[in-house]
């Protein structure tokens, strides 16, 4: 499969992700649980970064904050030049819509919805016309070798195919950042390798990818790795 196109990486002088002193604590009634403590991280445009850590290390919290699904308790976060720590819910939704493509461990496709409509959904929230949505979603699915599966619903697809539909959905908006959370976690080894190869292809095409995993072998696919433990990045 050939993965070409996508935005050319911006200049490498400004990092696309810039975390400074990011902390996140959860309020559990009387006690507060720190999930992240003072994390600093820069990701350059066009990088393929793996954030590696065991469960409970705070990597899910990292993913939520980088993915603009959650706000940090302290610190500053610039995504593609935009300070996002102060945005309201609608502001975060707008950033997610325009700048980020998500790939989840459990695929998270809409049930009873065709592959085409699943991939087209992010475009729906950008206000793209139906005709253009179909055109771009078809192109994205074809790039991932699913051109003959457009009308299939998730339950008619294998795990590997579902994850590739999810990747197509992540790149259909041509986002500055693709954020993948344990994308191979639910897949057998062969499908897992297949999906990682897709990410490498996207990386070669110039896309910025952040992969979150507990699996050192999976992290090998990335061009750079950072390790997280107890809410802190290891030097």
């Amino acid at each position: 499969m050939t993965l070409t196109g996508g935005t050319a990486p911006a200049g490498t002088d400004t990092p696309i992700i810039s975390l400074r002193g990011i902390a996140r604590t959860y309020d559990m009634g009387r006690i507060t649980v720190p999930a992240l403590r003072a994390v600093d991280l820069d990701v350059q445009s066009g990088e393929f970064l793996a954030i590696v850590g065991p469960s409970g290390s705070g990597k899910s919290t990292m993913m939520n904050i980088i993915g603009c699904l959650d706000r940090p308790s302290a610190g500053t976060y610039h995504l593609a030049g935009t300070p996002v720590e102060a945005l309201d819910d609608d502001g975060l939704a707008r950033v997610r819509s325009r700048t980020i493509g998500f790939v989840f461990q459990s695929y998270n496709l809409l049930p009873r919805t065709s592959a085409l409509d699943n991939v087209a959904t992010p475009l729906l929230y950008q206000g793209v016309s139906r005709k253009e949505r179909v055109r771009r979603a078809t192109a994205a699915l074809e790039r991932l070798g699913l051109g003959d599966r457009l009308d299939h619903e998730p339950n008619e697809l294998s795990g590997g195919q579902q994850q590739r539909v999810a990747v197509a959905r992540a790149i259909v908006t041509d986002p500055a950042l693709v954020l993948a959370d344990e994308p191979t976690g639910n897949l057998d080894t062969a499908s897992g390798h297949d999906v990682l190869e897709v990410f490498r292809e996207l990386h070669r095409a110039g896309r910025t990818i952040v992969l979150i995993t507990h699996d050192a072998e999976v992290a090998e696919a990335a061009s750079r790795q950072v390790h997280i433990r107890d809410g802190q990045l290891l030097a």
């Binding site: 939520n64 993915g67 699904l69 959650d70 819910d89 609608d90 939704a93 707008r94 997610r96 819509s97 325009r98 998500f102 989840f104 998270n108 496709l109 809409l110 049930p111 009873r112 959904t121 992010p122 729906l124 929230y125 950008q126 206000g127 139906r130 959905r169 908006t173």
Partner: protein, 396 residues
């Protein structure tokens, strides 16, 4: 997201769960159908009464003798009628002396009411002549044995326009047939078309036996004068009958239009009441939609999380769920209108009940179901819009 996109989304969702959608809508369908059917029947009887009002004669006062002391003879006389005729503002006056008799023509016979009256009767009681002519003043004054048949009576005797000028018998006495009345149709107690009209003097001489009249019909020129004329007639008759101020009147004056206006306002109230009861069914249908939508929000928590992750704002989710509820309620409303019309048409046909549905009723029913969708859709939609994307994505 445009409205069209939202409606498309709602329809694809409803298609994927047809059975559930149908059952959810059922409450609104039944609610709207009962509003349409019950209001239709109510409006039907109201317009029926209004129609009947005009067939009775305009501005009609009916004076009837009160049978005080159980006396058999009427207290009203032809002289009373003549005296009333001099009151200003009266357009026509028709004293009536009524009895039953057998009418015969060419071997056919029928027993019907014989109404002895004057030439004004046609105007006062709003009868039109179909064939021939009505009684003339001359015929009434000279007490000629001429007769005008009601439409039903003519049909019963097998008479049509060719019979005008021939002889019929009433109680064995020959009469010349001079006219046949236009059918009026539909009355409450008595068919107004089943009667024979003859000059009052003739009726008193051959059938009643005295000069008493049973009722006097008075047509008042102007609606606004009804009350005044009624008061003048009362005063006149009290004087003529030698009644002291404290005596009970030996006659009644009856304003039929007034009665029917009252009846009409009663059925109007009834229509409102029926519509109100049916609306309760509609509200229950709305609550049902709310219930299902709340269940739906819970079941689709993960879908909501996914949509938010890929860029949906709270208001996009709100709009999606609200439009879904609205689609259910409006679709239910349209089906309800169709069902309501079908049921009322069936009831009207089988039960011989008149029913009328104004376009306004249908518009109101539709707007009402729209309102139900909004009122009962907003809360579940807000619940959906407020979900936290992280929690929603993790929801199993």
């Amino acid at each position: 997201m445009s409205l069209i996109e939202l409606v498309r989304l709602a329809f694809s969702r409803l298609r994927s769960g047809r059975m559930r959608a149908a059952l959810t809508m059922l409450g609104v369908v039944i609610g709207v159908a009962s509003v349409v059917a019950l209001v239709g029947v109510g409006q039907g009887s109201t317009s029926n009464i209004t129609a009947r009002l005009s067939t009775l004669g305009t501005n009609l006062l009916t004076i009837s003798a009160a049978r005080a002391n159980g006396g058999a003879t009427s207290t009203l006389t032809l002289a009373d009628a003549t005296a009333i005729g001099s009151i200003p503002g009266i357009a026509g006056i028709a004293p009536e002396s009524t009895t039953q008799a057998t009418v015969g023509a060419d071997g056919e016979t029928t027993t019907t009411s014989i109404v002895g009256t004057t030439a004004d009767y046609a105007n006062v009681r709003a009868f039109d002549v179909w064939q021939g002519a009505f009684l003339t003043d001359t015929q009434v004054e000279r007490r000629l044995r001429v007769a005008v048949l009601g439409a039903t009576t003519a049909t019963d005797l097998g008479l049509d326009e060719s019979a005008i000028g021939t002889d019929i018998t009433i109680g064995g006495i020959p009469f010349r047939l001079v006219g046949i009345l236009q059918a009026k149709g539909g009355a409450t107690f008595q068919d107004p078309d089943d009667q024979v009209v003859i000059p009052i003097g003739v009726a008193q001489k051959y059938f009643v036996g005295d000069d008493a009249v049973r009722t006097i019909g008075v047509s008042v020129a102007e609606q606004s004068q009804m009350t005044t004329v009624q008061a003048l007639i009362t005063a006149l008759l009290r004087t003529r009958h030698g009644l002291a101020a404290t005596d009970t009147a030996d006659f009644n004056i009856f304003d039929q239009a007034q009665l029917l206006a009252t009846a009409s306002s009663i059925t109007g109230t009834l229509t409102l009441l029926l519509g109100g009861i049916a609306s309760i069914a509609l509200i229950v249908g709305g609550i049902r939609i709310m219930n299902i939508m709340l269940v739906s929000v819970r079941e689709r928590t993960r879908e909501i999380g996914i949509r938010k992750a890929v860029g949906a704002r709270g208001r996009d989710i709100l709009a999606q769920f609200l439009i879904e509820a609205l689609t259910l309620s409006v679709l239910g409303g349209l089906l309800g209108i169709a069902l309501g019309l079908a049921v009322s048409a069936l009831v009207a046909r089988v039960g011989n009940i008149s029913f009328a549905i104004s376009p306004a009723t249908l518009v109101v029913a539709l707007l009402f179901s729209l309102a139900v969708g909004i009122v009962f859709g907003v809360w579940p939609a807000r619940q959906a819009a407020r979900l936290d994307p992280i929690t929603a994505l993790r929801y199993e």
